[in-house]
Amino acid sequence: MTPVPYRVVGRRDETGDVTTLSLSPVTDDPMTFLPGQFNMLTAFGLGEAAISVSGAPRRGGPLEHTVRDVGPVTHALCRARIGAVIGVRGPFGTDWRIEGGPTAVESRSTLGSGTAGGPGDAVVVAGGIGLAPLRGAVHELMARREREGGRVFVIVGAREPSQVIYRDDLERWAGAGAEVAVTVDVSAPGWTGHVGLVTSLLGDAGFDPAEATALVCGPEIMMRFTARALIDSGVGSGRIQVSLERNMQCGVAWCGHCQYGPLLLCRDGPVLPYDKVARLMTQRGR
């Protein structure tokens, strides 16, 4: 239960209050994780925060976490200098189930495959910093696309242009053949892209809803609206996955804080199929 010391070997300021840290274990072997899982990061002396892993598991290299500054612990993490030591416990939780990806096992019900000719369309919809837990999943989907074909759609919404994170990755994915679309709620000088809600991009995205599977992450309101829009366009609710969030303090199902109705999110989530949580997400104050 003690955190493993990791050294900050790189840092990138994504936006004013969002920083991506690259971490390398001081003495231990690098951890193995799956996209969608999270770690508990310790800013020694201040506390611990649950942060999704934002790196790609099979790419090697340092462990990456994208952190938003919302309190004393995340503030310290965002300010951590190169060489600083932070603690890492994990990985915890469920991952984005990608058929043909690192988690695929015969017995697991994974995202369905398409008809002969490769996997069905994979639609990734991210709102704001919700792109961070999805980054590793997109990497896996692109790797699968190289092996087996199939189309990958990455649809990103942000508040305004300066809040769009991972612009390099978005360009790289587009260059590798993914259909990438970015929209903002509010424009800024020089922006020539879409302006509007992220759900407004779904209609014209061009995916085939019949065989499509979707991974959705962002503010809860955004996930509710996006899931409903996907269902209305024909995507089965069992083929949509969301990543839910609640107060987390231990990561190991001891502290009870991450309860969401019948679920303990550190154990049963954070990634869950939408049909399992649709009703729960309508229950106010749950």
């Binding site: 709620d185 809860e220 509710r224 409903r228 309508t282």
Partner: protein, 156 residues
């Protein structure tokens, strides 16, 4: 029934509708009240009944964990609460809650759709009135997005 038709005719959304049209709309309606804090409609529910507000004030809200219900807009006397009954999949996108005691005319959306279906003249009359209100709301929402009162928002 006649009294209800009068109330219906008084509401701005239906102002100017010919008498027999008003009667037919009233045939899908009933007079209701809500206590302060009552939910008129809830996100995700089937959009069947919409409301013509006669008195009081209704908050259009959306709920988010950790932020409580977020009030987006208010609808007062003469306003209309609930539009998703007009278009498939007929499901509410937001919550609506009475902020104070509210008096309204509850209209069965499916009933009204059916009547509009068989009588395109009635249907067109309803649609033009509805579109006018929605257009005004859309335009106001766009202007609100400009965040005019924020730092650097424009107005001196």
């Amino acid at each position: 029934m006649r009294e209800l038709a009068e109330l219906v005719a008084e509401h701005p959304l239906l102002a100017g509708l010919p008498g027999d049209a008003v009667t037919r709309v009233a045939g899908c309606a009933r007079n209701v009240t809500f206590g302060a804090g009552d939910l008129l409609l809830a996100e995700g529910d089937a959009a069947d009944t919409f409301y013509l507000v006669r008195r009081g004030r209704v908050a259009i809200e959306v709920h988010a964990p950790g932020r409580g219900p977020i009030m987006i807009e208010t609808v007062g006397p003469g306003g209309t609460v609930g539009w998703s009954w007009l278009v498939p999949p007929y499901r509410w996108q937001f919550d609506a809650r009475a902020m104070v005691p509210v008096g309204a005319i509850a209209v069965d959306g499916a009933c009204l759709r059916d009547k509009a279906e068989v009588d395109p003249v009635l249907g067109y009359a309803l649609m033009t009135r509805v579109v006018a209100v929605l257009l005004e709301r859309l335009q106001m929402t766009r202007v609100r997005l400009l965040d005019l009162y924020g730092a650097g928002g424009g107005a001196g």
